[in-house]
């Protein structure tokens, strides 16, 4: 096959989006990376797998790129057990932490990288234990150890001091550590240390039946349960050759758009609150509660967990429910329009939002800023428009972009996307096709690969799945889940430079990145 001008040895996976999988050699790995970085390709994710199968197979490093043709999944088999592979950081800076995570989980190392600090491994696991290697069990590896300190980069000079924050934060938020180096109130440097929530999700996948593991995927990040559920099920359906009904696809999109609205309502309130506008929090959190209560009535769960299942969805929407869901869109839309005007006209609020936490479009492109935050910095990518799969191919989704790259731009994109999602929900409800909501999914009786790719509210969520149905094995051999937060966390370090420390919570909230989805 030919992708982006390269002739590759591979296949197209049977997924609703165009996803290609190919095996490459070490030289091609780097040549392709260079070519793709020069031609607007984006590195979506990078992960390692242990594909040892009896005496054959071995370690493999994989990368997924967004290219004009769709998604390109590349496998590079590594020659020996302690093998290394060519570094991708020179072409895609976001590869840095992904490569460090692959080193922690499987012991494969990129050649010549300068930053070899562990990332997800905090030193607490048994010595030399690589959790995703097939020949290792934690019991045999020895006792757990105390967590170790992290070598933060020191900023030196007159009047520089450090402010350590976390892992336990001062609000109802996820844990992580931020190390600020400041002069006076100005932030000179922010360095993050994440991985506190690492709870072994990717290892856990291999212990669950494939038809149950969508529940685990739905708990990668609680605020994106529909996006992950859909991406996992898409991967499983693609490797099983299962085509879901049109109605099931439309219902999944309905759930996904409702998830987007729920998160934007929550964030818009919290952003007002972080700029000392408590009125905003009260109003938006009221709307969010209305939204979640109707989700509970219509789909049986406030956050819509476990509604997307392999083969379709568990909930159906009858006419009465459709009417109440559409009515609520009208009500919420009126209120959001009113609140948007209040936000726009509030001088104190705009003073905090404008120019704060700025990521210029140029920097965003260089660092690979993605998803909602990327669109607020001129990176016009949205899978629902670029790769419109069913049912988005019939909805003409309008992309929301801004070029300001500041908190105000991210607020504005949220408002636009919220209103667009309300339009989409009404459209989905009014044109919902007939049919069943769930199809039978028969797992293959051989080794198979599948992938899922979905535009969640935060950005692109990707799942790569390797399933072994051979000789009664019937197990997930590897499931890699990728959250767009991997790309965006490092950019947050840049966004706060030269801003003042008290603006950090506001800037952080305007990105609202996932810790759990990143820490795995």
């Amino acid at each position: 096959m030919r992708i982006s001008g390269f002739s590759l040895d591979g296949e197209r996976l049977p997924a609703p989006l165009p996803i290609w999988r190919a095996t490459v050699r070490s030289e091609t790995w780097q040549v392709l990376a260079r070519a793709l970085s020069e031609n607007g390709g984006r590195l979506l994710t990078l992960w390692a797998s242990d594909r040892t199968h009896g005496a054959s197979g071995g370690l493999v490093i994989s990368a997924a790129y967004a290219v004009p043709e769709g998604l390109l999944w590349l496998d590079l088999p590594l020659a020996e057990r302690a093998a290394t592979y060519p570094d991708l950081v020179p072409f895609f800076p976001c590869a840095g932490r992904l490569q460090r995570a692959a080193a922690d989980l499987l012991g494969v190392v990129a050649e010549g990288v300068s930053d070899r600090r562990p990332w997800l491994d905090h030193g607490a696991w048994p010595e030399n234990y690589r959790p995703l290697r097939r020949d290792q069990s934690p019991r045999a590896a020895g006792p757990h150890r105390e967590v170790t300190d992290y070598a933060f980069v020191r900023v030196e000079g007159d009047g520089v001091h450090e402010i350590p924050v976390g892992p336990v934060h001062a609000g109802i938020i996820e844990p992580g550590h931020f190390r600020f180096s400041v002069v006076g109130e100005k932030v000179q440097r922010l360095e993050q240390r994440l991985g506190y929530k690492h709870k072994g999700i990717e290892k856990r996948f291999t212990e669950l039946p494939a038809l149950q593991a969508h529940r685990l995927a739905g708990r990668m990040s609680g605020d994106s349960t529909v996006a992950y559920g859909w991406a996992y099920c898409m991967a499983l359906e693609s490797l099983a050759g299962c085509e879901i009904s049109e109605r099931a696809s439309w219902l999944r999109a309905l759930l996904l758009e409702r998830e987007r609205v729920a998160n934007h309502l929550g964030d818009l309130g919290a952003l007002g609150n972080d700029a000392a506008f408590a009125f905003g929090l009260a109003q938006f959190s009221r709307l969010r509660e209305d939204w979640l209560r109707l989700a509970k009535d219509a789909f049986g769960h406030r956050l819509m967990m476990d509604v997307v299942v392999p083969g379709g969805v568990t909930a159906d929407v009858d006419q009465a429910t459709a009417a109440s869901l559409a009515d609520q869109c009208d009500r919420i839309e009126r209120e959001v329009q009113e609140l948007r005007q209040i936000y726009d006209e509030h001088a104190g609020l705009q003073d905090r939002f404008l120019t704060t936490g700025r990521v210029s479009p140029g920097l965003a492109a260089r660092l690979g800023l993605t998803g909602l935050a990327g669109r607020a910095s001129g990176q016009a990518a949205d899978l629902r428009c670029d790769r419109a799969w069913i049912p988005y191919d019939q909805l003409e989704v309008k992309i929301a972009t801004q070029r300001g790259g500041d908190v105000a731009a991210r607020v504005s994109v949220r408002f636009d996307e919220l209103l667009e999602s309300l339009r989409l929900i009404r459209l989905l409800l009014s044109r919902l096709p007939d049919g069943r909501t769930r199809s039978e999914l028969r797992l293959p009786s051989k080794l198979a690969f599948g992938a899922g790719w979905v535009e969640g509210w935060r950005g692109e969520v990707f799942v790569a799945l390797e399933y072994d149905g051979d000789k009664g094995a019937h197990c997930i051999r590897r499931c890699h889940c990728h959250d767009p937060s991997w790309q965006n966390w490092p950019v947050l370090e840049h966004a706060v430079m030269a801003d003042i420390v008290p603006d950090f919570p506001l800037i952080n909230k305007s990105f609202n990145l996932s810790y759990s989805g990143h820490d795995l």
Partner: protein, 173 residues
């Protein structure tokens, strides 16, 4: 400004009646406030600790602050430091990497203190279980007074768990 006032006036007060604690006596908001004062001699201060959750529980804990649940109106407040807290509200599973931070947070809270574990993962490790990276339930690391199941438990169940823990002060068990 008039738009803000109009929006406030139009929506009015949306706070709803709090739930009954698990010992089945129906109590109103005033009674909850009085009990908090009788038992604790002060408003209830809670330090929330996410020890490794998927963030679903945090979304529902945050919902306790919305105008419908209006938890501050009952005299219950989320505080920024364990040193100010009467109660730790902990979500899990406890990751290995949060074990030390959770122990330290527990030690930093003044005695006597209450601990409420929130969510299936906090109760028994949930879908993540125990592994090289997960210590499982919260009670594996620190003493727990009340555990609230659910994935995630809805806000009212979390509030019920909080009230039940406070009541356990007068009638242990």
């Amino acid at each position: 400004m008039w738009r803000i006032l109009k929006q406030i006036a139009r929506n009015g007060i949306r706070s709803e009646a709090p739930p009954e604690p698990s010992d089945s006596l129906r109590v109103g908001g005033e009674r909850i406030q009085r009990e908090l004062l009788d038992i604790l001699g002060q408003a209830l201060s809670i330090r929330q600790v996410d020890a490794g959750s998927c963030n679903g529980c945090e979304l529902e804990i945050n919902a306790l602050n919305n105008p419908y649940h209006n938890i501050e109106g009952l005299g219950i407040r989320f505080v920024a430091s364990p040193r100010h807290a009467d109660m730790l509200l902990v979500t899990g599973p406890v990751s290995r990497h949060m074990e030390l931070a959770l122990r330290r947070t527990y030690d930093a809270a003044p005695d006597p203190k209450l601990v409420v574990a929130v969510g299936d993962c906090g109760c028994d490790g949930g879908i993540f279980g125990e592994s090289y990276a997960s210590c499982g339930r919260v009670a594996n690391i620190i003493p727990v007074d009340v555990a609230v199941p659910g994935c995630p438990p809805p806000p009212l169940e979390i509030l019920r768990g909080i009230l039940t823990a406070v009541r356990s002060r007068i009638s242990p068990g």
